[in-house]
C-alpha cells in the first residue's frame, strides 16, 4: 500500500532557514543543507524548500544551496517561491529539484502550468494555493496570502489540474498558525474536485492532528508542516509510529 507522506517545509531566505531549528536543546541550526540531511535521516518522506528571498543575489545563493542539498539528500525535493517562468523551473530542476511548486506565478500567468507540464511532465508541477473563506466561499489568495484575488479557489484548483498540475498543496489561511488541526472541510472540498494527490498544509499542532487528517480524509495523500517539526513539537518518527498504530500506512 502506498504510504501517507510527511513533509517538512523549510523557508529559506538569503541562504539560511528562517528562524532556524532547535533540536532538543541543541544550538540553533540554520543551514538548509544540514537540516535537509537531518530530516531525510529522520523520517521525512519529502522536503519542500521555499525560497522567500527578494534579491537576485539571494536567489543565486538559494540555487547554490539547493544543489549542495541535492548532492546529499536522496529523497524527493520540491522547490517553491519565486517561480514565475519556465526559466525558473529550469534553474531549480538542474540543481536537483524533483518537483516545482507554483503559486503567485500561476495566478499572474495561468499558462505557466500548462507550459511547464508539457515540458517537464505533470508529475513535476505542483500547484500550491493559499485559500481563505470569504462570505462562506473558498477564495484564492495571492502574495503569500495577503491579497484576495476574487477567484473561487475550487475552480482555480480544477483549472490548474486540467492544465497539468500533478499535485495540489492546500494551505488554509484560516487554520494556519492556529495549531488546532488541519482544515478538513476545505481539504474535503478540494479532494472532491480533483483526482491528483492533495497535500494538506496549515493548522497542524500535534500528532493527533495528522491522525485525524488521514483517518477522516483518506483521500489526502500527505501532510505538510514547518515550525512544529522545526521546534521539536512533533517528531516525525514518533508521528509515523502513531500513524502505524492507527492503521495509517507510513514509511518507517
Amino acid at each position: 500500500m502506498i504510504t501517507k507522506r510527511i513533509i517538512p517545509c523549510l523557508d529559506v531566505r538569503d541562504g539560511k532557514v528562517v528562524k532556524g531549528v532547535q533540536f532538543a536543546g541543541l544550538r540553533e541550526v540554520d543551514s538548509p543543507v544540514r537540516l535537509a540531511e537531518y530530516y531525510s535521516q529522520n523520517g521525512a518522506d519529502e522536503l519542500v524548500f521555499y525560497d522567500i528571498t527578494a534579491s537576485s543575489d539571494g536567489r543565486k545563493l538559494f540555487t547554490d544551496i539547493l544543489c549542495e542539498t541535492a548532492k546529499n539528500v536522496f529523497i524527493p525535493l520540491t522547490v517553491g517561491g519565486g517561480i514565475n517562468t519556465l526559466a525558473d523551473f529550469d534553474r531549480v530542476l538542474k540543481c536537483g529539484a524533483d518537483k516545482v511548486s507554483v503559486n503567485s506565478g500561476a495566478i499572474r500567468n495561468p499558462d505557466l502550468i500548462a507550459e511547464a507540464a508539457k515540458r517537464y511532465g505533470d508529475q513535476c508541477v505542483v500547484l500550491s494555493c493559499d485559500i481563505k473563506r470569504v462570505n462562506g466561499n473558498f477564495r484564492l489568495f495571492a502574495k503569500g496570502g495577503r491579497e484576495d484575488t476574487g477567484l473561487d479557489a475550487i475552480e482555480w484548483v480544477k483549472r490548474g489540474v486540467s492544465n497539468g498540475a500533478g499535485e495540489v498543496v492546500v494551505n488554509s489561511i484560516d487554520t494556519d498558525g492556529v495549531k488546532q488541526g488541519f482544515d478538513l472541510a476545505m481539504l474535503a472540498a478540494v479532494c472532491d474536485a480533483v483526482s491528483v494527490p492533495v497535500i494538506a498544509s496549515g493548522g497542524a499542532g500535534k500528532i493527533e492532528d495528522f491522525i485525524a487528517l488521514f483517518q477522516r480524509l483518506p483521500r489526502v495523500d500527505a501532510g505538510l508542516a514547518a515550525s512544529i517539526f522545526h521546534f521539536g513539537e512533533v517528531n516525525i518518527n514518533d508521528l509515523k509510529r502513531e500513524m502505524i498504530k492507527n492503521q495509517i500506512p507510513a514509511r518507517i
Binding site: M1, S40, F74, G96, V196, P197
Partner: protein, 208 residues
C-alpha cells in the same frame, strides 16, 4: 566504473550524486567506447515511452548496449529505462520495445479504478521467493519511491519485486544480467542507496 547512458532524456543529477555517495565512479556518457569499457551500465529514463525510444535509437547506442549485455555485463534500467527493456508498450498507441525482457507495459488505470494515477509516493517492496542479489542489503517491506502511470505486465518469469497498489505492480525485474526497477533508487533514501550499492558490486559473468 558505472556508465549512465546519456541519450537526452531526463535529469541525471541525482543519479550521479547517489552513485558518488556510495563511492562508485559514475560517468554520464553517450560514447560507445566508454560504455564498452564500463563495468556496468545504467539506462535511465523519464517521460513518454515512444519519445524516449526514438531518442535512444537516434543515439545509435542500442547495438553497443545489446553487445555489452551479450558479454554478461550487469545492466539496469530505471523507471522508463526499465520499461524500454520490455517487448512493447501501450502508452499512447502501441510501440515495440528493446525485447530484452518478456512482457508488456500497460496503463495502471486499466487495472484499478478508484486509485490516483500516477502511482506516486513511497510503497513497500515484496520480494519473490528467491531474493535477488539486487536486494541483498534490503529487507522485505522497505519502501521505495515511485512516480509512474504505466507498469510492466505479463512478466511473471522475470519478476523479482512488486508493490501493492490496488493491483500487484511490478517494482523490479531481472533476466540474467539485465535488470530493471520501476522505482527511483536515487530518490528512495537509504533503501535506494543500498540497492544501487548491490548493483555496483555486481560483476560481468565470466565467459565459459
Amino acid at each position: 566504473m558505472t556508465a549512465i547512458v546519456d541519450y537526452g532524456v531526463g535529469n541525471l543529477f541525482s543519479l550521479v550524486c547517489s552513485l558518488e555517495k556510495i563511492g562508485e565512479e559514475a560517468v554520464v556518457t553517450a560514447d560507445k567506447a566508454v560504455i564498452a569499457l564500463a563495468d556496468r551500465i545504467i539506462l535511465p529514463g523519464v517521460g513518454a515511452f515512444s519519445d524516449a525510444l526514438k531518442k535512444l535509437k537516434a543515439s545509435g547506442l542500442i547495438p553497443v548496449l545489446k553487445e555489452q549485455i551479450q558479454r554478461g555485463k550487469p545492466v539496469i534500467g530505471i523507471c522508463l529505462g526499465m520499461q524500454l527493456l520490455f517487448d512493447r508498450s501501450f502508452e499512447y498507441g502501441e510501440h515495440a520495445g528493446l525485447r530484452l525482457i518478456p512482457g508488456e507495459i500497460r496503463p495502471i488505470a486499466d487495472f484499478v479504478n478508484d486509485l490516483k494515477i500516477p502511482h506516486m509516493g513511497w510503497n513497500a517492496l515484496h520480494f519473490t521467493e528467491q531474493k535477488h542479489p539486487l536486494f541483498r542489503y534490503v529487507q522485505e517491506g522497505e519502501c521505495v519511491y515511485f512516480v509512474h502511470s504505466y507498469f510492466a505486465t505479463d512478466c511473471q518469469s522475470s519478476l523479482i519485486a512488486s508493490v501493492e497498489y490496488g493491483v500487484e505492480i511490478t517494482a523490479a525485474v531481472a533476466e540474467k544480467n539485465v535488470m530493471g526497477c520501476q522505482f527511483h533508487p536515487e530518490k528512495s533514501g537509504e533503501t535506494g542507496l543500498k540497492i544501487l550499492k548491490a548493483f555496483c558490486e555486481m560483476e560481468a559473468a565470466k565467459p565459459c
